[in-house]
Symmetry: C2
Subunit: 178 residues, 2 copies
């Protein structure tokens, strides 16, 4: 069966700082119509930064949409036209104060394909050394270093509750042990 | 350091069918101000449905925001006031045509805490038996059954590119083997 939904009309609802919103009418596979709300996002990167002792670097930050401080892997949005690898290098320097000699794209995934087009590129960064760059003016972070198995344990204890961090840490744990 | 951002003013931008959008002004930890765009979402569930032979049930569906057919674990949005477990039982019946005698909450996580409040409850369902309920009228799905290790392999081959499915399958693989 062809599952494709075909665009009929599109309405721009909002053009913002980090996202846009549109509402489309589409034709469904059975010929009927439906509406689809789409959050347009520039895409993002996330980084598993792993040192020689198999520690991983995490960041504590306040996430306004959920009203909570979270523990996450470092991450950030792509600037317009920015290469994911360059973005990951910039974010690792800004958020954690590190550079890496080895970069590997572990996975690329969609964070919420039901309502957004956000794609996220997940990198494994090794060969770490200090390298600080100026962070975004409205970001406040605390860096936390944990052994990778301990970070994985925090997922199942419920202290790491961020989807990209869960996917990234579990993927890295398989890759590193393999 | 107190990382909390404090609401100053809030502007409702859109009230929609599956999401709302608002834009808030906030006071940052250093006293300056910033704007925060927040997609309000009702929350969701996702299900690892595992049979006695350790096969997992996946769904192929067209995801309009990314313009692609994806392979994902079954999932769905919470109705207003709905208990996550009841939602998971409903979605498993609607999308896959199964009921389960054993339900375990594996994880709860935020899909995109940078711009949305969506929380997702991930269940492990076992003791499966046929039980079909009528699906949403605008959902078109194909069910795929795979051995769990094969589903995990599809993540690293890039054929499963959905964050909740990656997090869920990798979490289940650890739980089931342990």
């Amino acid at each position: 069966m062809d599952l494709t939904e075909v665009l009929l009309t599109s309405e721009r609802i909002y053009e913002g700082r980090i996202l846009n919103l549109r509402r489309d009418r589409v034709r469904l596979p059975d010929g009927r119509e439906a509406s689809r709300e789409v959050v347009e996002h520039p895409g993002a990167v996330a980084i598993i930064a792993l040192d020689k002792e198999k520690n991983v670097y995490l960041v504590r930050q306040y996430r306004y949409p959920i009203g909570r401080v979270t523990l996450e892997i470092p991450a950030g949005k792509l600037d317009a036209g920015e290469e994911p690898l360059l973005c990951a290098q910039r974010e690792l320097a800004e958020e954690v104060g590190l550079a890496a000699t080895e970069w590997q794209l572990l996975l690329a995934f969609y964070t919420t394909p039901g309502f957004s087009d956000e794609i996220m590129y997940l990198f494994l960064a090794t060969g770490l050394k200090p390298h600080r760059e100026e962070a975004d003016a409205d970001e406040f972070l605390e860096v936390v270093r944990l052994p990778l198995p301990e970070a994985v344990a925090q997922i199942f204890k419920g202290t790491i509750q961020d989807a990209k961090s869960i996917a990234g840490l579990l993927a890295a744990a398989r890759t590193v042990q393999a």
